[in-house]
């Protein structure tokens, strides 16, 4: 590190009186995360308010005007059925963002609870929960989803739930491993020595240490959920057409990969950018929660 003698050495007496440790203020100092946050807010606003402004139906087909390039009436052109891509992006965004975040929340909740409890409590709880996790990894997802969605109906919320039920095992494993590692630390023992209930120790001391991993898992989980939705729609199990999602727009574009690759580019970019923003936000959050990190 360079000598920074010329830096105005802050008077010893004034600073650090009441350091503001709130994550929010620290987060605001991280440019990438801050920008990502605003971007995500913006995109949610656009996607949820946009359709009231751009009222063209996302489902209205027009065989006479398929694969049109951009124009005033169709800013992003039209798709293979002559539907307005802009409108589909807006409406699809609603579902995709909901599915992504919704499935991620469930995934993290289930996976986090199972993994943390298994790792922390050990003994038969561990045996049951971890074997259960392994069982869920082994049961063929296709049939699970097929039966669940046939019985429960293919509403977006059910799709979210089923995606979560098919993907929480990864997080459970990660959280389990981390819990095993952290629960051996002396400060955990210290908390036990204070007479804390196990749940207190787990929630207050062990889980916070795992939060960086959980953040990573959730930001990855969003991408995973969005893509899983499109994959299962290919099996007739996802959000039902003609309802647009970025995932199924991407999936539909598969057929046009040779002739109109642009069809996939828009939803692809949208997904990438959103996932990227979530990742930067996650990194920022992680830094904000890291007491050793200084936001410059």
């Amino acid at each position: 590190m360079q000598k920074t003698a010329n830096e105005p050495s802050v008077m010893l007496t004034t600073v650090e009186k009441k350091p503001d440790r709130r994550a929010w203020t620290r987060l605001r100092k991280n440019k990438a995360a801050h920008a990502s946050l605003w971007f995500l807010i913006l995109i949610h606003v656009v996607v949820f308010i946009g359709p009231f402004v751009w009222t063209m139906s996302p489902e209205a087909t027009n065989p006479a005007n398929t694969l049109a390039s951009w124009s005033v009436s169709h800013p992003f052109g039209t798709d293979d059925l002559g539907r307005d891509v802009f409108s589909r992006m807006l409406h699809g965004g609603r579902i995709t963002l909901l599915v992504g975040a919704g499935a991620m929340v469930f995934t993290v909740l289930i996976g986090g609870i199972v993994g943390a409890c298994a790792g922390f409590f050990g003994k038969w709880i561990e045996a049951i929960l971890m074997r259960f996790t392994e069982a869920m990894m082994s049961i063929p997802n296709f049939f699970f989803a097929l039966v669940a969605l046939t019985v429960l109906g293919k509403t977006p919320w059910m799709v979210v739930l089923v995606i979560a039920l098919c993907s929480w095992m990864e997080i459970a494993r990660v959280v389990y491993g981390e819990t095993l590692k952290w629960k051996q630390q002396e400060f955990v023992e210290a908390s036990i020595a204070l007479g804390a209930k196990p749940l207190w120790t787990l929630v207050k001391h062990v889980i916070p240490q795992i939060i960086p991993s959980i953040i990573v898992a959730s930001t990855l989980g969003i991408a995973w959920a969005i893509l899983t939705e499109s994959a299962i729609s290919y099996l007739g199990l996802g959000i039902q057409p003609p309802t647009a999602t970025w995932g199924n727009m991407l999936q539909d574009a598969q057929a046009y990969i040779w002739t109109a690759p642009i069809l996939g580019v828009l939803p692809g970019i949208a997904i990438t950018v959103v996932v990227l923003a979530y990742n930067f936000l996650g990194d920022g959050l992680r830094d904000a929660l890291d007491p050793r990190h200084i936001q410059k």
Partner: protein
């Protein structure tokens, strides 16, 4: 330790048993039936005849009992769609899948860890953002799209690499590798980001610990500090992920296998599911379960090897 092994063994047996029950009832609950009965132009009589032939007219419980009886004797039955023994169908595919899985794991773990560490070291700087960006692209660009684009570039336009298939026998190692390059790249695009991201986060956690300072005080090279002292402590999440990736790669490389005409387990599973080949589904599920059990067991052992404080057994 011995009691741990024994305990784990019985738990696993129970697990396989429960998975088999759940799966058996699940596949029978799922709409549809074996494809031979599910032809558009089949008549009810034909369906009934085939159903009787396949023994599907018996109650589910009875069929499960029969299946279980055979399975414990090591006989997973014959595939409903091809008549071949399920074991044979799996055995045909498994080596190919294993090849891809191992290579993909090596590639994504090695590169993933390196990139993750670089990202952590260059935290919030251009290279960190760049690596994050690449990882996210790898995650959100659909495999089929990337696969076709790579085929277009390397096989159609440049003609450097074969567009698909498994290496023919008796060709040189380099020729064999050529067949693997594209599938491994595509598979890695979805596994690598996970490892990169977890590695980065885990490294950041570790790098500020006092023992890293000690290593520096010893005069250890910065690269050794990072790749030896710090990394070892950061491995647990990555190992967990690898444990999850193994079964996923073994059974889930469907897109890559179809695009590259790779005769792997992924397609076998999808075909079995689509054609409601109950015996094959059961067989594959059992194999996958065993692999899951095995990898998780290994991962659990590895935890305490990585970090001696971990006492999970």
């Amino acid at each position: 330790m011995a009691s741990f092994l024994l305990q784990r063994f019985w738990q696993s047996i129970l697990l396989v048993f429960i998975v088999s029950i759940l799966t058996f009832f699940l596949i029978n609950l799922a709409p549809g039936g074996p494809s031979s009965m599910m032809r558009m132009d089949a008549t009810e009589e034909e369906r009934q005849a085939i159903s009787a032939q396949l023994g599907l007219d018996k109650p589910v419980i009875v069929r499960y009992g029969e299946w279980l009886g055979n399975a414990v004797r090591g006989d997973l039955g014959d595939s409903l769609s091809s008549g071949q023994p399920v074991i044979q169908r799996i055995a045909e595919r498994f080596p190919h899948t294993l090849q891809l899985t191992i290579l993909t794991l090596i590639v994504s773990v090695v590169i993933g860890m390196i990139l993750g560490i670089i990202a952590a070291m260059k935290r919030n700087r251009a290279s960190d953002y760049m690596i994050n960006f690449i990882a996210v692209i790898g995650l959100s660009v659909p495999s089929f799209w990337l696969a076709i684009m790579l085929i277009l570039l390397f096989s159609v336009t440049l003609q450097w690499l074969p567009s698909s298939g498994v290496p023919p026998e008796g060709v040189s190692l380099w020729e064999q590798i050529k067949y693997l390059i594209l599938p491994v790249i595509i598979l890695s695009t979805s596994t690598l980001p996970t490892i990169v991201r977890f590695m980065r986060s885990s490294m950041l956690e570790v790098i500020s610990q006092n023992y890293v300072r000690t290593a520096r005080a010893k005069g250890v090279k910065e690269s050794v500090v990072i790749y030896w002292h710090a990394m070892r402590n950061a491995l647990i999440p990555v190992v967990s992920i690898v444990g999850v990736l193994v079964p996923r790669l073994l059974g889930g490389a469907v897109i890559v296998e179809s695009v590259f005409g790779w005769p792997g387990m992924g397609r076998l599973i999808v075909e079995a599911a689509n054609s409601r080949d109950y015996t094959l589904v059961m067989g594959v599920t059992i194999v996958v379960t065993l692999l899951v059990v095995l990898t998780n067991f290994i991962v659990d052992i590895v935890y305490s090897k990585i970090d001696p404080r971990v006492k999970n057994f």
